[in-house]
Amino acid sequence: MEFTALFLAIVVVMLIAWRGSRALALSLSLVVLVACAATFLHHATDTLKLSF
């Protein structure tokens, strides 16, 4: 679900970058980037089914 939300957020940021305010686009891009890093770190601590 979080991946779906991130894609939607990026579409919104792209539209703002193309048609809206530069400052808002930059700020939201950084927010989305932090959210991506947080999502990665959250999943990086999942227990893995090891293949060996």
Partner: protein, 182 residues
């Protein structure tokens, strides 16, 4: 490098990013390989990479726009490197099919590293920033097409992720679209 030349290279970058995202879709629909969570995150980072070029085309080249792309590429490289390392043990068949002998996450790592290098190369040329805020011009049809294409492909990824995961956590090894299950 003039601002116009820099913008032309940014347009090329957008077409390249769109091609990467479209090739991921080709693997998904032609080979039936649904993207795993790490795969989705790499697609997300490729999409985020595109925001820098979009800003460069709209507002003129600025170091901050390239910095955004650099940060996205660094995070993307970390994500794809993790997936490479998860399957690095001898005897591990890897995840998904290969293209030119490399798994998609390996190709993604190469692409993110290339993006870091190319963005850094672009930053070498100060001439593109010379006009400052006056560099903002109306985008030509090719630039507009590149921006529209990359937004459309990202929107398609949103729809695909929604169909695949539904309204719950995405499966670690997805084999079906959750929202299309009877």
């Amino acid at each position: 490098m003039t601002p116009a030349r820099a913008i032309a290279l940014n347009v090329l970058a957008l077409f390249a990013l769109a091609a990467v995202l479209v090739s991921a879709f080709v693997a998904q629909f032609l080979l039936g390989e649904l993207p795993c969570p790490l795969c989705l995150l790499q697609r997300i980072m490729f999409a985020l990479l595109a925001i820098g070029p979009i800003l460069n085309i709209r507002f003129g080249p600025r170091p901050s726009h390239y910095a955004l792309s650099l940060l996205a590429a660094i995070v993307g490289a970390i994500v794809s490197a993790r997936q490479v390392l998860l399957h690095i043990m001898p005897g591990d068949a890897g995840y998904g099919t290969t293209l030119f002998g490399y798994h998609f996450y390996t190709l993604a790592l190469m692409a993110f590293v290339a993006a870091i290098a190319l963005t850094a190369l672009m930053l070498l040329f100060d001439g593109q920033f010379a006009q400052g805020h006056a560099a903002k011009t109306s985008a030509g049809p090719l630039a507009t097409a590149a921006v529209v294409l990359v937004i459309a492909v990202t929107a398609a990824n949103f729809a695909s992720a929604l169909l695949e995961c539904g309204f719950k956590a995405c499966a670690d090894d997805p084999v079906a679209y959750e929202l299309l299950k009877g």
